[in-house]
Amino acid sequence: MNTDFSSSCPISLTEYPYVLLAHGGGGKLMHQLIEKMFMAALHNPILETRHDSAVIVFAHFTSGERPRLAFTTDSYVVHPLFFPGGNIGTLAINGTVNDLAMSGAQPLYLSAGFILEEGLEMNVLWRIAQAMQQAAKEAGVQIVTGDTKVVDRGKGDGVFINTSGIGIIEHSLSITPQNVRPGDAVLLSGDIGRHGIAIMAAREGLEFETTIESDCAPLVGLVQALITGGVEIHCLRDLTRGGLGSALVEIAEASGRTIEIEEASIPVDEQVRGACEILGFDPLYVANEGRLVTFVAPQDAERALKVMRQHTLGASANIIGEVKSASASPSTALGLVTMKSRIGATRVIDMLSGEQLPRIC
């Protein structure tokens, strides 16, 4: 047994004797679970980079250039299985492809593990498999290995899917939160909140009429366009459960920098805004499945914006803020995100505490 890992549970059992839904919500409780439980148990230098995908350098290659691989895994439990703009199958491909793309990798091969519930309609599974084939084709990846398990009726929710993926890193950039620097421009690839609201609209029990479709899409093409365009990318992050707000807070904390954004520069579709106003959601924390933020060197900001806007998935891209110099005040040294509101006041952007909606991916 590893001597620096205590045999007693590192999560306070007084506060959390049981796992709560919010432990998987992408917010603070999930971070606490990962840091105190999994990091403590499983720590190693690669895991500790806390990136969307692990970057593995094949050091034992003695001759020539040492290849760098990106490796990631993700599980998909979305309910309902089908929603406007996608389904659990497209999500399972695009989600993993996007995690690989966030290290600047070209995704190549995926695995797919299916946990099926007894009684699932065979036709539903076929539609999901077809959707996965189509999504893989669009993202330029192949599913090369897989696994299938069936559990008793009532012990699953139709289908759960896990996909893992590997990709090759052919650029020489260092794309990590730790590489974010003062002066970096923050670019957002498109309008936010579509996936979360599309799921909500499709979900049983919430009668909300809308035509909003999920933004679910593979971001690899957009990232590769930035790389081949010669943009000096310092960090990439796809926006998922915790939304833009949580992604920026994660990067601010990992880099120890202060990020300042402007509310007016963040595109939000009118219908998504309307839905958020009615339901009391903040679009900053609503889920996305086809949007990214990138931190680029200031001299490359305009070029990056042009490259992104030329791509179909970045047509409404915008520069939303910048990274500030290290502050003299110790209170901001830990990394902070602030936002200038539409009326000109400034507020802190915090990480989502619980979850706005369970099981959205």
Binding site: Y18, L20, E270, S331, G344, R347, V348
Partner: protein, 382 residues
């Protein structure tokens, strides 16, 4: 977006702020009653536009915050009964009933994690559908809130009655705004000189029930909306009255509030509920400040249906929620704010609710005071 963007216009806000500065000659303390207004003020930074001698204190208008811990304990008890589905608005699920010692579940979410069937709903009418779909289960709605949510809750009872649903009931903890305002005005430590009344409550109830309060305590009451420009205009109208020595009920939120309110909604409330004394968390019992189901609808009263225990729950001694809810203290003046009390580990309800003042300060106002460390625990950095 129409009806939003024009009330969040930066230039209009600046112009209103200039008018307010010109008007103000003396220090004034105003209270915004509604938690929705509190969140707007803190989220948009509206208080940054006020003259330095105008102070806004935050009121008791957060339904989740003022729901007594004893009622949450009753909800926990009901949720634990076999074949029962408890439905609630989301915020209510995380509010602590008691200071957790690890032996008993401290809130509804913990009971849910242990297997109770607890569902988050957006409307009480959703519960009727759940009741229809689960005829062998007892479906209970945890009905909290002010006059704003009372009509929909009353409607759920009426529809259940019409449909002959016998597996639906309601745990009622409804409260009323005017008696709470009077309790604040008549307390010895009161510092409130003018009110921004809660716009949406007045959409239902109208503005006339505030007139006796304005006369008796000589206090201006301005019915106010929720957008930045609404709130600034509410403050402006209130300060104008104070500067001129007037104390009247005025309606800033005319696009939503008619003086007589929504009469059919008032009739439904009147039909289903009756006025009773009600305990407010952190404040205590206030006469004629709550609603309960009338005897005619006793079959839908979950307290009677389930014969629940009368609980006594002690609130955390460190939490000053009661003082915050009465406008006596601000959240950051609490010794445990942001340290032992956070949205993940709330000691008091105002740190939980999306309308709670402590949660608003924690989310939007920590630039120089408290910062969370990366592991989710809190530390003081100044």
């Amino acid at each position: 977006m129409k009806f939003l963007d024009e009330y969040r216009d930066g230039e209009a806000v600046q112009a209103m702020a200039r008018s307010l500065r010109r008007l103000t000659t003396r220090p004034w303390t105003l209270m915004e009653v509604c938690g929705g207004q509190t969140h707007s003020i803190i989220k948009f930074g509206i208080d940054e536009f006020l003259p330095s001698n105008v102070t806004l204190v935050h009121g008791p208008g957060c339904p989740v915050c003022v729901t007594p811990a004893e009622m949450i304990q009753k909800a926990i008890e009901i949720a634990g009964r076999p074949n029962t589905i408890l439905c609630s608005f989301g915020d209510m699920l995380r509010v602590p009933a008691q200071v957790g010692d690890g032996t008993k579940p401290a809130n509804l979410l913990s009971v849910k994690a242990q297997g109770a069937d607890i569902r988050m709903v957006y409307s009480p009418l959703d519960c009727l559908k759940i009741a229809q779909q689960n005829p062998n289960k007892s479906v209970v709605f945890f009905a909290v809130g002010f006059e704003t949510t009372a009509p929909a809750n009353a409607m759920a009872v009426l529809q259940a009655h019409e449909q002959g649903l016998n597996n639906f009931s309601m745990l009622v903890s409804h409260v009323l705004v005017p008696p709470a305002m009077e309790a604040i005005l008549s307390s010895p430590g009161n510092r409130v000189q003018g009110f921004l009344a809660a716009g949406h409550v007045c959409t239902v109830m109208g503005i006339h029930e505030y007139e006796p309060l304005a006369r008796k305590y000589h206090v201006p009451i301005v019915v106010t909306g929720f957008e930045p420009l609404d709130i600034l205009q509410g403050v402006l109208l209130c300060v104008k009255q104070l500067e001129e020595g007037r104390a009247q009920v005025e309606n800033q939120y005319t696009r939503a509030v008619r003086p007589a309110g929504n009469e059919p909604a008032q009739e439904i409330i009147q039909e289903v509920f009756e006025v009773v004394p009600r305990a407010w968390r952190g404040i205590g019992e206030i006469a004629r400040s709550g609603l309960r189901l009338r005897q005619k609808y006793a079959a839908y009263d979950a307290e009677k249906v389930f014969g629940v225990t009368e609980w006594t729950v002690a609130d955390s001694l460190d939490c000053i929620a009661g003082l915050v809810l009465q406008g006596v203290k601000k959240p950051h003046e609490c010794l445990v704010f942001g340290t032992r009390c956070t949205p993940e580990r709330p000691l008091g309800a105002p740190m939980v609710s999306s309308e709670g003042a402590c949660a608003a300060y924690f989310r939007y106002r920590r630039m120089a005071s408290n910062r969370p460390s990366s592991d989710g625990s809190e530390q003081r950095s100044t």
